[in-house]
């Protein structure tokens, strides 16, 4: 079950302050990285929702993000809708697609589920690549940012855009927490722990999975829309399975099932990527080794490890006669057990 511990609150405050600080002191390059981190954070938040709290490891979230990006791009440029309306319609569309995928894959488990999402993601990728009007390999350009001049906000400015992304991340986070504590959200966690019992209690498991995947898809769609607005350009490469793979890597690196962990993971991943790429072009080697190290260490990512250490520290401080209160941790104690 998801709960905010003092450690999680502290980390969130730290992250938020860090983002605001960077927004107001960073140069152009710094602001671009900040936006990149924030957009990735929204994507991995969406993925952690279904993977960490629903046990549904997905390799199609990159494609869902791409669907949001392309949906917004087409609606705002070719269908002539205003960006605000385009955002809403694109989100509904992606949410719907997510629901369908979740429903179809509801009876699949384990490696078969992962591969089924991969298949759906690649279907989306090849569709976007080949279909007329989508721009093919060249992609689409001229994507507008919303016009908020009525509120005296200019989203064309890098700093304002970064803050806009931060607001979106906060909203997404709030939504996910609200959902996880709701009836459906708790049922999702129940399904992850024991699908058989949930059915026996009268729960329609496929509906829960479909709803969760729909909401997760919508949030991934938010990331996609921001991505499209940020670079004002989309290309099919954002829908390839390797993007979904990277999202999964970030979630694992940060800490599956903690919500805060993946956000930490996003920061570490983007910063590391830019630092390493400045020194060497062998970024993939670094990521690969890091991933292998995290998985083999048995810990649940960076934040998961911190949480375990913190809990251990707290238990040592407590009097041994008191019964230890069970600290909330993510369901998958280590990735190895997944």
């Amino acid at each position: 079950m998801f709960r905010h511990t003092p450690l999680r609150y502290a980390t969130l405050i730290l992250l938020f302050s860090g983002a605001v600080f960077q927004a107001f002191t960073g140069d152009y390059y710094g602001l671009e990285i900040l936006s990149e981190i924030l957009i990735l954070a929204i994507l991995v938040l969406a993925l952690d929702l279904v993977a960490g709290f629903g046990g549904m490891i997905s390799l199609c979230h990159g494609a869902l993000m791409g669907a949001g990006a392309y949906g917004f791009a087409l609606l705002a440029t070719q269908a002539g809708l205003s960006p605000a309306v385009a955002i809403i319609v694109a989100l509904i569309l992606v949410g719907f697609i997510g629901c369908i995928i979740g429903a179809i894959c509801a009876r699949s488990h384990g490696i078969y589920f992962i591969m089924a999402t991969l298949a759906f993601g690649q279907m989306g990728y090849s569709y976007v690549f080949d279909a007329p009007g989508f721009g093919g390999d060249d992609g689409l350009t001229g994507i507008p940012r919303p016009d908020m001049s009525a509120l005296n906000i200019d989203l064309g400015d890098s700093q304002t855009f970064a803050l806009y992304c931060l607001a979106a991340l906060c909203a997404a986070y709030g939504l996910v927490v609200l959902f996880l504590n709701s009836g459906v959200g708790r049922s999702l966690v129940g399904v992850m722990h024991n699908e058989v019992r949930m059915r026996a209690l009268g729960s329609e498991v496929w509906k829960i999975k479909a709803i969760a995947f729909g909401i997760s898809g919508m949030i991934a769609g938010v990331a996609g829309i921001l991505l499209a607005q940020h670079s004002m350009y989309v290309s099919p490469s954002i829908m390839n399975w390797t993007v979904s793979g990277e999202a999964l890597v970030v979630v694992i690196l940060g800490g599956l099932g903690t919500l805060v962990g993946p956000i930490v993971g996003a920061v570490v991943f983007v910063v590391l990527k830019h630092q390493v790429s400045a020194l060497t072009s062998y970024w993939h080697l670094v990521v690969g080794c890091l991933l292998i190290a995290v998985v083999m260490s048995g810990s649940n990512g960076i934040f998961g490890w911190v949480e375990t250490q913190w809990t251990r520290h707290l238990k040592q401080r407590q009097s041994p006669r008191l019964a230890p209160r069970s600290e909330p941790t993510s369901h998958q104690e280590t990735v190895k057990d997944a």
Binding site: A119, S126, L285, C289, I292, K336
Partner: protein
């Protein structure tokens, strides 16, 4: 203008060639999955290494040397991989295996770039197999014909080994029920090791054989991964029959799809994969059940 008989023959041969290439690659992976329940995504990277080694060796010692040495080199890599990493991960859940081998793909991608650089390599078709052969009314590149024949030969050899030899029986027993096979006195660990190394060797062979036809790039292992997964999932995990049928289905759907319905063709194969995974996840001809 209606396509004539020659056109269809050409496409059929192309489909067969693609199928045989996929077969060489997928047979190793499917038996590893069926026998060891180990999801080895790095299999694609081994194929890439095979191609690179082949290109390098051929530059020095000619095509046929690389034909022998590349699979051996990749088998050696597989050996190291197994003892170093895979043996430890065997008892972990599928997620951990997916992630670790995923990490390996990334790592190998850059390792090949470090060793061989970023520029795509090329490998020349050997003189013996260059040019075209007249066959069933068409002129078909001899080298591609060679690929088809090689694939069929490997298929026949494996079928013989699996169905007619002691070790083949042990492998089939291990795929069916490894705990039971162990109780019967079969050294399942050793068997796994042998199968894993042979699987790696075949991946290396596939790379060496594909090199003259495709360009040798650092991300070729990544690109071939999803097609390989498609083949083994549709065909059915763990069986020779599954590997060959999956390869044929893939080869023909891809080739004819690209020709007849280019806009839909890529979606088609993924749609097929999704359908199999949802409706009949064990595939068409699984080793078990």
């Amino acid at each position: 203008m209606a396509p004539d008989f020659g056109f269809w023959t050409l496409q059929t041969l192309n489909a067969l060639q693609l199928s045989m290439l996929m077969f060489l690659l997928s047979i190793g992976l499917t038996v590893i999955f069926g026998l060891m329940h180990f999801v080895n995504l790095a299999h694609g990277a081994l194929y890439g290494i095979g191609a690179y080694v082949a290109a390098t060796v051929a530059g020095v010692a000619g095509y046929w040397a690389s034909f022998i040495l590349a699979p051996l080199a990749v088998t050696a890599v597989g050996l190291v991989l197994y003892t170093g990493l895979i043996r430890r991960m065997r008892k972990s859940g599928p997620m951990a295996q997916v992630l670790v081998t995923f990490g390996l793909i990334f790592a190998f991608l850059d390792v090949t770039r470090i060793v061989w650089g970023d520029i795509p390599l090329a490998l020349e078709v050997p003189d013996l197999l260059s040019g075209r052969t007249s066959l069933v009314g068409v002129e078909y590149p001899t080298y591609r014909l060679f690929i088809i024949i090689l694939g069929l030969t490997v298929l026949a050899a494996l079928a013989l080994i699996l169905n007619r030899t002691q070790i083949g029986a042990m492998i089939r027993a291990g795929v069916d029920n490894d705990a039971m096979a162990s109780c019967l006195g079969i050294n399942v660990e050793k068997l796994f090791f042998v199968v894993f190394c042979i699987g790696c060797g075949l991946a290396g062979l596939a790379g060496a054989v594909a090199a003259p036809v495709l360009s040798v790039t650092p991300d070729m292992g990544l690109h071939i991964l999803v097609p390989t997964l498609i083949v083994i999932v549709i065909g059915g995990l763990g069986s020779l029959k599954g590997a060959i049928w999956g390869s044929l289905i893939f080869g023909f759907v891809q080739t004819f799809g690209a020709v007849l319905a280019p806009q839909l063709s890529s979606m088609l194969i993924y749609g097929l994969l999704a359908a199999v995974l949802v409706i009949r996840p064990e595939g068409l001809f699984p080793a078990r059940g």
